[in-house]
Amino acid sequence: MNTPLLEVRDLRKQFKDFVAVDGVSFTVPAGGSLAVVGESGSGKTTCARIVTGLEKATSGTVLLDGAATLDRRRRASFVQMVFQDPYLSLDRRQTVSDCLGEVLAHHDREMDRRSRAARIDELLDLVGLDRKLGESLPRHLSGGQRQRVAIARALAPNPKLLVLDEAVAALDVSIQAQILNLLVDARAATGVAYLFITHDLSVVRHVCEDVVVMCRGKVVESGLVAEVLEAPAAAYTQRLVASVPRPGWVPSRAVSRG
């Protein structure tokens, strides 16, 4: 069998005497898309941070392309991350082009000015941002636009794996849909794999094939999205699924307002 892009085995993370992640294992195949779902506090973000190297595991292994350790730059061009809050995940002093250009220059020192500018345009196109917005500062952009910039920045080094931690949670529902579509398109265009972390089951179906369900630091269920969400086996997953509005579901508030 092929080496998975990401293999997480028996991951454990302890903060003082609190166990945030307790023996978690999962894999992401090349080009795959794995959702990690669970209520807030179940340890999803901690897993994401360990995978991207922002946090050290207490024990367990994280294999990126079969390797346990990569140097900083190699790791960065292999796995990237998009954060929840698009208002705080961009440097407020940096224009969109500068932000992307800095990352491009970092990963490819040889790249000349012109090919860098071309690549910036390409990235802006990829995430559906008007090229004219390249000169904008984050404060002139909407939340959705900022998240597109963050996605472009993450895709800039051509990573094999993109970790998205609640990447649409801070956005309005209509904007969420746009960003989810963008993620689907970007994966089709680049072949990047996703580790898609969310507490919101309703956004999973659209973006992911596989899912692991986390509860209090442990994986309680895993499988294909279609199967797990249609016929959840674990009681915890059943509760999660039951709390998600189904297609055609109308909020009662809207009904009573008429």
Partner: protein, 275 residues
């Protein structure tokens, strides 16, 4: 440093900035602006009243007060400037490295700053000047050290907040070095706050250095320096000629108020908003 701030109305800010600029120009262009040699003694002309040749009169030795005031701007501004640059650089450097590395290093730096902070800056500066000699350099060095913890505390808290923002983590995930992130992202984002701290500190340093000169521990006669002029004018006040002390004191007050007003405006403009 809780600024001793009056609420500056927004319209006063350009005026204050203009005053700061004028005082700075006065210092830079002193040789061209001053009508007389500030050191030229003329005992026969002591305590001359305001006149065409001596717009602000003369002092007890017959030296032209306007010229001394203009030249006095040089040391009176240079002292606080050196203090805020030195303390700003050292304080910010310590603050950012403490916030960045955290752990035992942060603890060590924070404790050291607490100890330094426990000494009132002026007392420290006076003690050092008394021990190591008077002049320009000693009080300025001492006061710079005394200002380090004041600036470092504010900057450390801000650097702490800044380094925990997701954009810093995004840069780490991109594999940028700590040095690159601190120099290219953290520091530039802290710069507005540092400017505010420097402008506030400038006013305090000016008062402190004037006090040190006043106590005779700073620059020595016949130097033209505002603090020293206030001190030298003292005997003349009793003789009924308060102008030397008065104009020097007014110059200090106006400059301090102007710098503080600019600082407040900057603070309102850049105040703590991270978005």
């Amino acid at each position: 440093m809780k600024p001793i701030m009056l609420r500056t109305p927004p319209r006063a800010a350009p005026v204050a900035a203009a005053v700061c600029g004028l005082v700075a120009l006065m210092a830079l262009l002193a040789p061209w602006i001053a009508p007389h040699d500030p050191f030229a003694v003329d005992p026969l002309n002591a305590y001359a009243p305001f006149s065409g040749t001596h717009p602000l009169g003369t002092d007890d030795l017959g030296r032209d007060l306007l010229s001394r005031l203009v030249y006095g701007a040089r040391t009176s501004l240079a002292g606080p400037l050196v203090v805020v640059i030195a303390a700003g650089t050292l304080g910010t450097g310590l603050a950012v490295s403490a916030a960045w590395f955290g752990g035992w290093f942060d603890n060590l730096v924070s404790r050291a700053l607490d100890v330094l902070f426990a000494f009132p800056g002026l007392v420290l500066a006076i003690t050092v000047a008394a021990l190591f000699g008077t002049g320009f350099v000693t009080p300025v060095v001492a006061l710079s050290l005394a200002f380090v913890p004041v600036i470092a505390r504010v900057m450390r808290a801000a650097a702490m907040r800044e380094r925990n923002l997701p954009y810093i983590e995004a840069l780490r995930v991109q594999g940028f070095s700590s040095l690159h992130i601190c120099l290219r992202h953290l520091l530039p984002n802290l710069a507005p706050l540092l400017m505010v701290q420097a402008a506030i500190g400038f006013g305090y340093a000016m008062i402190d250095l004037a006090s040190i000169s006043f106590l005779g521990l700073g620059l020595q006669p016949p130097a033209a320096d505002w603090g020293l002029m206030i001190a030298n004018g003292q005997p003349s006040i009793l003789a009924g000629f308060p102008q030397q002390s008065l104009i020097a004191a007014v110059a200090v007050v106006i400059t301090v108020v102007a710098f503080t007003a600019v600082a407040e405006r900057l603070a309102v403009r850049f105040g703590g908003d991270v978005r």
